[in-house]
Symmetry: C2
Subunit: 647 residues, 2 copies
């Protein structure tokens, strides 16, 4: 098993991502800070910081919010940590330090740290792992602490969390007297691997392994826990015994069977991918081939059977869950922003396990489409649910009230905006991985990477106008000549690529899992040029995806397109894109902050007087204009479709 | 306003309908009798007859069932009444007489008759009109009593119901001291018009008018009633205050505004059409042009914006309700059998108001498609919900659990099977209406009609193999020559009709609202032949029906077709019907009790390895076979589609 490792020193100077990173730094982080402190007018209060103040004995009042309210603070801190990497901001860092200090003061003497239980049910810790997110919140704080330590070098946050993890390690395990439980919402497992990475303390790895291995073992822990809970006085808000796990059984939290026996992605989509991330991480750290194989099976199941073309996942609002193969409704789905963010993180981990283009293709699909659509171009409004089709009746149908037709300022359950923010703020972590002698370039994001290959320090820069343009230039800076491999991903969407080193054509005949491996003794200033043909593709769905038949989606490079009412008029389902129409792409500086738009000659079916008719349909010529899906709903509300009927 | 009236003496000798009527007589009525008496093994108990026994003091026990359980008894009695018209059955009539006698013994001294309130909440009569169906049940018993009186000439049942209506008339009205309420589920209004028809007592017509006129007046009665109910002790099972009217407001029961201001069909589909039936009836009886105009507006709204091609109505399970224009999902809809039965009844009443083909076309669409699909060919199993598309994931999705993929033996809420049974048992009531001098033939159902036209007794027979064959022969029997008009509907689906009288071509140049009016002095034995071309039509949906674009539905004559897995293999969405393919129709004696099946050369999209691909799709030739929609799921379970993707 050839595992690659992350590359730390990556600077983003990309026109596309730098703008988004600045939006996160300048808009999202301050906005979320206000949200956490209840300073936003006309918005659902968060109370998240106040909960900690009360827990620290520094304020009076009662806990307010969801049982996972703490995690919003954690995700904010994690985003701040990433943002501080390339946007030093002493004032922001001071704020973060103060929050961390507050966490420390809220922490119980034994290390416990969760404001819901500290304030609401101090005697009921660990009594409802199924629903109440204690370990999930701990996981998010661990991720934040690791990130904060890595960026700032400061130890306080890490110490707080190590103290908490020490307690968790004493409480959970297969040993006599310990609770044989595991989280109802996975998250701590992957966080513990990160904590191991930064501390090299194997206890954390073992604890992660315990949680993964115990999951789904008979007797199912949550069943026993529910029995015990009948004997205690608990006020859990999530404990609706009429609709446990939304009727999905223990598949809801992937606890229906031991993880290595799981062959199909089931249940709550975010929970699922968080689990799979940890499984991939553990497979990479421990060489556990059964875990790796399970990850591969689950990966194929998701991307071949259950993933939207935008990299959205979760076909049903009930349980925010996977359903079954090829069930991919475009208007009533969930496609939670968090789930696509999780899918991107999972792809990142699978790439470390196996440098295979198929993972990078999905990673790229996720970050340019179904995640980014979760935020408007200003970073001020957010989607929780990312539909692929918005119809005029979306407002009326009670079963589609979860689908908002415009982005919202904030959410009572505010998991998605901070999750997307941390993904953007750490986008550089996805570009490269490496072995001792090979640098894998998974994504084309302009900027600079510094690392050591074959014992020599090297620096490589990328410059280009990706994703709008497929001409990519890389320059190798290595003081003295260095012998190493540069592995370049030739994206799956690209049928015509041309690679040159110092102007010399390189054959693409032998790709290794989709990567061109250029082995040479690199000289200072060597240049690599990569031309990725960005011809517009008409994507069609597998014939089992019943809702997408007779339709195509337009994709150019990694960008999936949609049609919007603002460009094409109402009734987008009445448009027809002839199979033979030429599609023109053109970069428009003034549209949606600068994007390539697509246009084609098409038709509109003329409305008839009848609901059903055997008359020949009258087709009226109409220009069809498509814009990047991620940027939809930035010019007012209206209909939108990814899948366009062909004629 | 030219109103036509029903024709009483119609005998069905039609190969298609006679079979169904026999199934109702021989299977459905005995089966429902067992159900009402809890004699069916492994089936949800009904307890409906037992409730009456307890109410009569002849049995011990408690009320069991829904608040409208009584109505199952009523619909059974009504079906029996129709069935006895042409299937005399002394034993069955004796059973019915016994039930009627039991009703009389259950009736309170003041005339009140509802077992839920008599047994469960004797002090709370009329306190929850919004939810609890007292007036609805009364309406069904009135309909049954009228039908039983008309068939048998017996008066006992009618007397019981007149006594009850007398009480209702004393309780409800705008006068001081009366309750200004109206039913939460319309039904009694149309029943009162029937009661007026048979008794000519204008009090009943006035009471119906009161209910219609009061509906939706401010202050909304149900709001006031709910306030009052807070002060009483009531155990109503339907009174879930968290989800009143399924979040649809008073639109749920069409009480959001006065009926004459209603311009759009809203809310619970069955409630809606029952209301519209009474409005049409009152318009016809009283010449109320504002009611007539409202009916016409609502009719057009339903059939031009909200009706499935099968004549299904109700696009959403939430509230079993209409949603908005063109929202016609094929797999998650409601399309309750009762709603299409109600639509057929409404069409029947609109035809009396205005002999316009557009009503008969929908009547015919309903009776041959979306109603009949509610029962299997043996009359032993029933659909409550009639989907137009069944996918492999129908079982998995929690939001589609209301859609059963095979017919069920019985239902806890057993409204549909008896409703369909009474429609079939009285199908002859839809064939003709008349004025003094004109006989309108709305449907082609073989058999005999006797009536008086221009003062002369005449008899006309229809003979043909409709709906499989469009050659229709009519023979006029009139002892002496008679001058009258025979009005023949030329169906909207027929573009080529040929009519001859005694072999002489009659011009179709001047149709009156879709009817050919043949005025002549008819002689004994005059023959009329009508050839209705039954070329298969490819029906397409209005471009605003987003889910049906790129697809066509096959229709031949009045019959809408579907494709089933049993004939075409799995993955019906992967089939392609080329626009230019010839469609062959062939009568098959041995298929589905004898139907015309359709076949065409088509293709199947070959499965690919990828979920999304820009590769050209591989099309494999495949014969496509379609069968009548009403007969689907009579050869095992599997996928089904009405709308077929074209290529």
């Amino acid at each position: 098993m050839k595992v690659t490792t992350p590359v730390k020193h990556v600077l983003v100077e990309d026109h596309f991502w730098k703008k988004y990173k600045q939006i996160v730094a300048n808009e999202v982080i301050p906005y979320q800070w206000k949200a956490l402190n209840d300073e936003l007018p006309n918005t659902e209060p968060s109370h998240a910081i106040e909960n900690f103040r009360i827990a620290a004995g520094e304020s009076n009042g009662e806990f307010y919010g969801t049982v996972f309210q703490d995690s919003d603070v954690a995700k904010w801190l994690e985003t701040v940590a990433y943002s501080l990497r390339d946007n030093p901001n002493p004032e922001l860092e001071k704020k973060a330090d103060e929050v961390i200090s507050l966490l420390g003061r809220s922490q119980a003497a034994d290390g416990y740290l969760n404001t819901y239980y500290l304030l609401k049910e101090p005697n009921n810790r660990w009594t409802n792992l199924r629903d109440n997110h204690e370990l999930y919140c701990a996981g998010h704080f661990i991720e934040a602490a690791v990130a904060y330590n890595e960026t700032t070098g400061k130890n306080e946050f890490l110490s707080i969390m190590e103290k908490y993890v020490h307690l968790i390690d004493q409480v959970f395990g297969t040993e006599e007297g310990k609770i044989k439980g595991y989280p109802g919402h996975e998250e701590i497992e992957l966080a513990l691997v990160k904590l191991f990475d930064v501390t090299q303390n194997e206890k954390y790895l073992r604890l992660a392994q315990y949680f993964i291995n115990q999951r789904g073992q008979e007797p199912i822990y949550f069943r026993e826990e529910a029995e015990k809970r009948k004997k205690i006085d608990t006020a859990s808000t999530w404990n609706d015994e009429k609709n446990i796990n939304f009727g999905l059984g223990f598949e809801y939290q992937q606890a229906h069977q031991p993880v290595r026996e799981q062959k199909e992605a089931v249940g709550h989509a975010v929970r699922a991918v968080y689990l799979y991330i940890a499984m991939a991480d553990l497979a990479a750290k421990t060489g556990d081939s059964s875990l790796k194989e399970t990850c591969e099976i689950l990966w194929d199941d998701v991307v071949k059977n259950k993933m939207y073309i935008t990299a959205g996942i979760g076909s049903a609002v009930n349980g925010e869950a996977f359903t079954c193969n090829h069930d991919l409704p475009n208007d009533s789905m969930y496609c939670e922003t968090c789930a696509s963010v999780g899918l991107a993180f999972w792809a990142n981990r699978m790439l470390r396990l196996d440098a295979n283009r198929k993972y990078a293709d999905v990673l790229e699909r996720a970050i340019y489409n179904g995640t980014l659509s979760g935020m408007d171009l200003d970073g001020k409004r957010f989607f929780y649910v990312n539909p692929l089709e918005v119809n005029p009746f979306q407002h009326v149908r009670k079963d589609q009230q979860h689908v908002k037709v415009e982005r919202q300022k904030w959410f009572f359950c505010a998991c998605c905006p901070p999750n997307l923010a941390r993904m953007i703020a750490s986008v550089e972590d996805n570009i490269y991985t490496q072995t001792d002698d090979t640098l894998y370039t998974h994504l084309y994001v302009a900027g600079k990477v510094e690392t050591t290959l074959s014992g020599k320090k090297i620096e490589i820069t990328q410059s280009h106008q990706y994703p709008w343009d497929g001409d990519i230039a890389l320059t190798v800076n290595t003081g003295e000549p260095a012998h190493f491999n540069l592995a370049l991903r030739i994206p799956g969407w690209c049928q015509n690529a041309v690679v040159k080193v110092n102007g010399q054509l390189i054959s693409l005949d032998r790709l290794e899992k989709g990567y061109l491996i250029i082995e040479r003794v690199w000289q200072q200033g060597d240049s690599v040029s990569l031309h990725l043909d960005m011809q517009v593709k008409r994507m069609r769905s597998h014939p089992l995806v019943s809702m997408n038949q007779g339709q195509s989606a337009l994709q150019r490079g990694p960008i999936v397109y949609c049609i919007e009412e603002v460009d094409n008029g109402a009734n987008l389902a009445g448009l027809r894109l002839p199979k033979e129409s030429e599609i023109t792409s053109q970069f428009k500086e003034d549209v949606l902050n600068g994007v390539v738009i697509l246009t084609a000659d098409g038709y509109r079916v003329a409305p008839s007087n009848e609901l059903y008719s055997s008359e020949q349909m009258e087709l009226v010529p109409q220009k069809i204009t498509a814009v990047p899906y991620y940027a939809w709903c930035n010019r007012g509300t209206g209909e939108m479709r990814v899948w366009i009927y062909e004629s």
